[in-house]
Amino acid sequence: MMKLAALVPLFPLVGFILNGLFGKKMSKGLSGTIASVAMLLSFGISLAVFLELQTAENKATVINLFSWISSDTLQVPFEFLIDPLSSVFLLIITGIGFLIHIYSLGYMKHDDAFARFFAYLNLFVFFMLLLVMGNNYLILFMGWEGVGLCSYLLIGFWFKNNAYNDAAKKAFIINRIGDLGFLLGIFLIFTTYGSTTFGDIFPNAGMASPAVVTTIALLLFFGATGKSAQIPLFTWLPDAMAGPTPVSALIHAATMVTAGVYMIVRSNIFYSMSETASAVVAIVGLATALIAALIGLFQNDIKKILAYSTVSQLGLMFLGLGAGAFSSSVFHVTTHAFFKALLFLAAGSVIHAMGGEQDIRKMGGLKGKIKITFITMLIGTIAISGIPPLSGFFSKDEIMAHVFEYNGLLWFFAMIVSALTAFYMFRLIFLTFYGKFRGTSEQEHHLHESPPTMTIPLVVLAALAIFGGLLGLPEFWGMSNWMAENLDTIIMHHHETRLSHQTEWILMGLAVVSALIIILIAYNVYRKKGLVPVEKEQQLKDWQRPIFHKFYVDEIYDFLVRRPVDFLSESFYKVLDLQVVSLLVDGIGNSVKTFGSYIRLIQNGNVSTYIVGMVMSIICILLFIFLI
């Protein structure tokens, strides 16, 4: 049965090939069905594998498919690893992937490039599955690059719009910067341990010097900051919202952006061994979470708010990773996948109803018009705000407890992040669904609930967002924390929380109370007073301006990186390229051609010349051998 897991990535690949090659000739129904059925089959097998793993004796199965690279010291088998960590990710990817495929059937119905969309989506799932199933860093990296490519293709899916293309390019280039770090990390791992296979590396991790381990950990983390949108490489994710909304939900919220978390949990041994690296991860994570949450307060585009919220939540996960709470972070990845996919899909449904409008200042009062969307989105919002008993509460609380134990100051700032989250999310809800409708009368007339293909995934995800917390109930409640026990074998160094039950109760209480107070404030500002964000920048207060401008990060990068690079390229082009390289290259090329034209003269078509040439050569050879 375990061996069947090798089929999981195969179905999306077949779906991609069918849709990619023959999509144009197929009807929309057929190509959508192929893509969705491929996902359903993958999900079915993932589920079976997952269930079997729960009772299996051996928690890690390696499936060897073939020998991929076999060259002297570099031996890379193409192997899949099925263990508790990858099986959880398999379920998230294929399960949520399937729901989003269903949703896309409705959302993309009127798009001409329907088959292309599903081909890309299947290809993405294929690479994402490789990423989490690979048994060595090389396959992981292949998947890593593959999802990056699909992300690029899907952000720029509507390629006729230049701004979207720019966003796609930005995402791709910034990710490449991170990939460089990841690649260097893999190189260092290979030179240190002589292998890229997980099973060869982790048991021997201690053989390397602490400095090397720290370097590896930091390089891998730098790779993660690209894919998972952390400081300094987070700026691409908000722009990535140019892609169709299901893409934002699947790639830029639920799966791809959590690849960095997956990779670090997979490599947790390095982080357990290096306090410096862990501290860097924690601080960068927290800083990202805080900055993104602040920026989120002043966004007016419904998808951008969710994008910054994603960056912020990812920051919290990295904070957890830095604090050593690996299983809690995976738990948060899971619940986050549920409620963030839900929020994005619901936002997509709102956009669909509004006929493409994404600015929440032009919405309002949608509560009664699109009931299912409203209720499910509210559930998602409550979940992300950390109100019990919804899923987000449990996972966030687990991370918070670990962070408190790790460092009180970090915990304090993390509490602020969590409060800000509750505020901007409820701001979104109040502005979108309550009050009076602020759009055009044409839009008001057009308002309608989305078709069932879109609402059913919403309802399923809402249920998951409500009950997802059952996966990891707090141990101090006397419950069993399934997630922590499940991932037990993956985590190399355990550190048990030593907080007293009393402290844990207090922390939990503080979190809930502060969230409730913040929601009340948001209610007061946006519901009671009916405040609508200002249209013009001039009306902002001085302290708000930098936040409104996203802390000028893009501008700073432009100044610090782009301009020097432009300047360098320009001068290199003028001096080095035109003056030196061109002459050199042309010179070599021309001399090759000249030389070639001389040799050509020997080849004159005359048999006697040829034979004379051969005989002369033979005489030379004999002389060479017997005289020298």
């Binding site: 030389f595 048999v607 040439g613 051969m614």
Partner: protein
């Protein structure tokens, strides 16, 4: 061995098919025969009972079976491709018989264990090829090609015979194993003419695989012969000649390797330089591919040269033959289909992208493989060669090989570029019939498959 018997039988059948009037079923018969031969090869691989035949004159061990499987598979694809070539023209059955007998010679070469079978194989392979090169009777160039091939080929055969005679004179045996044993015992006391004999045999073999300075025939013959026959020359003939070369020099003359390794190094260096520099200047596609085949032959020679008595090098040679044959066959197939209603000029491929997409993709993959770009089989083929060259003594050769690969990439990629970006004279689409499309797709898929999973070939257990 069964494969050889079947192919010989098919050749005889083809000859009598005119008399007994069953020419119309000849094509399916040949395909069935080839498939049966392939199947029997696989069976022999798994049931190695009889390895040697005829007093140890011919023997199908696993490496011979691997080479003959490559040859048979390529021949099968070639026949499917050449189906309509056999329909046109008057001397249908003669062509069938000639190709089949050439194939029989090729199979004999893969299994030769004796100077007699070596010579017999080479002649059985070559003589039909001389005729086939001249098979476009009304084309002056084709006649010229056949004639040149014959003259130069006989010249080389003379050297081969002379060399065999000298070696026999020194060792009193034709048998590879006996010669090897003799050399091992009397090393250092062998007469000077023995070494001359080895050199003459090497020169004759170098002629057959067309490496510099014995390559002069190749560009003219490749250009003049009908495209499909050229395709046959650069795949089946080349693989068979290399199989024999390998058996001869790795098995028989391995104990006097100091004699021929330096010589081969010079030949390789010369071939790499001459072929790649000249190919840049070519305007005829077939001629360019002829030079490309010289450069690939040089690469394959490097495997024989750097042999350390390990099976890895035999595997590399099989992998290289397969990768090169597939790429070469698909390239010639595309040229054949394009030049049916046009010329064989490189400019004929301009803008092919707009005329037929399948042909463009096939030729692109084939050329990328020839250039050794990853994901195609050509990459690993070259990689294995370069990784096996002993770096202490022959580093300069490795560097030269890499430089010449870079130059080669130029003329391959130039064609790829012009297929996509240049304007063609005509926009008229090219229609590809289903069987041809099948061959092209099989070649492309295999090139990519072996490029992604080289272990399929390199991990075959040959012993």
């Amino acid at each position: 061995m069964n494969g050889l018997i079947i192919i010989c039988g098919l050749g005889l059948l083809a000859m009598i098919s005119e008399i007994f009037k069953f020419r119309s079923v000849l094509f399916p018969l040949v395909l069935t025969g080839l498939l049966a031969a392939l199947a029997l090869n696989v069976w022999e691989w798994n049931n190695p009972m009889h390895i040697s035949y005829f007093e140890n004159m011919i023997g199908f061990d696993r490496s011979a079976l691997a080479f003959s499987t490559v040859i048979l598979a390529i021949a099968l694809l070639w026949f499917v491709l050449a189906q309509d070539y056999f329909k046109s023209g008057q001397h249908l059955v003669d062509h069938y018989a000639l190709v089949l007998f050439a194939l029989a010679g090729a199979l004999m070469l893969t299994g030769c264990k004796n100077m007699t079978t070596l010579f017999l194989g080479i002649e059985t392979l070559s003589i039909p090829m001389y005729v086939l090169a001249a098979s476009k009777k009304n084309d002056l160039k084709s006649n010229e090609a056949g004639f040149k091939y014959l003259i130069m080929g006989s010249f080389a055969s003379g050297f081969l015979l002379f060399g065999i005679a000298l070696v026999y004179g020194a060792t009193a045996s034709f048998d590879f194993e006996e010669i090897k044993a003799y050399i091992a015992v009397f090393q250092g006391e062998l007469p000077g003419f023995f070494y001359v004999g080895v050199i003459f045999i090497l020169i004759a073999m170098a002629f057959k695989i067309a490496v510099a300075p014995f390559h002069f025939w190749a560009p003219d013959v490749y250009e003049g012969s009908p495209v499909l026959i050229t395709g046959l020359m650069s795949t089946v003939v080349k693989t068979a000649a290399f199989a024999a070369f390998m058996r001869l020099f790795m098995m028989c003359f391995s104990n006097v390797s100091e004699l021929w390794v330096t010589l081969l190094a010079v030949i390789v260096a010369l071939s790499l330089a001459v072929s790649n520099f000249t190919a840049v200047m070519q305007t005829n596609t077939k001629r360019m591919l002829a030079y490309s085949s010289i450069s690939h032959a040089a690469f394959m020679l490097m495997i024989i040269m750097s042999d350390k008595g390990e099976t890895a090098s035999v595997n590399s040679l099989i992998y290289y033959s397969l990768a090169y044959s597939l790429a070469s066959l698909s390239a010639f197939a595309v040229i054949y289909l394009v030049s049916k209603n046009g010329s064989e000029d490189i400019t004929e491929l301009n803008g092919l992208h707009k005329r037929n997409r399948l042909l463009t993709i096939t030729l692109t993959i084939a050329l990328l493989s020839l250039a050794g770009i990853p994901v195609t089989a050509g990459f690993f083929a070259k990689y294995f060669v370069l990784s096996q060259i002993p770096s202490d003594t022959l580093l300069w050769l490795t560097i030269l090989a890499i430089i010449s690969s870079t130059i080669a990439a130029f003329y391959y990629l130039k064609i790829v570029g012009s297929m996509f970006f240049a304007d063609s004279y005509t926009k008229e689409p090219i229609v590809v019939q289903k069987s041809h499309a099948f061959v092209l797709i099989v070649c492309v898929v295999l090139l990519l498959l072996f490029g992604m999973v080289p272990g399929l070939i390199t991990e075959l257990a040959l012993y």
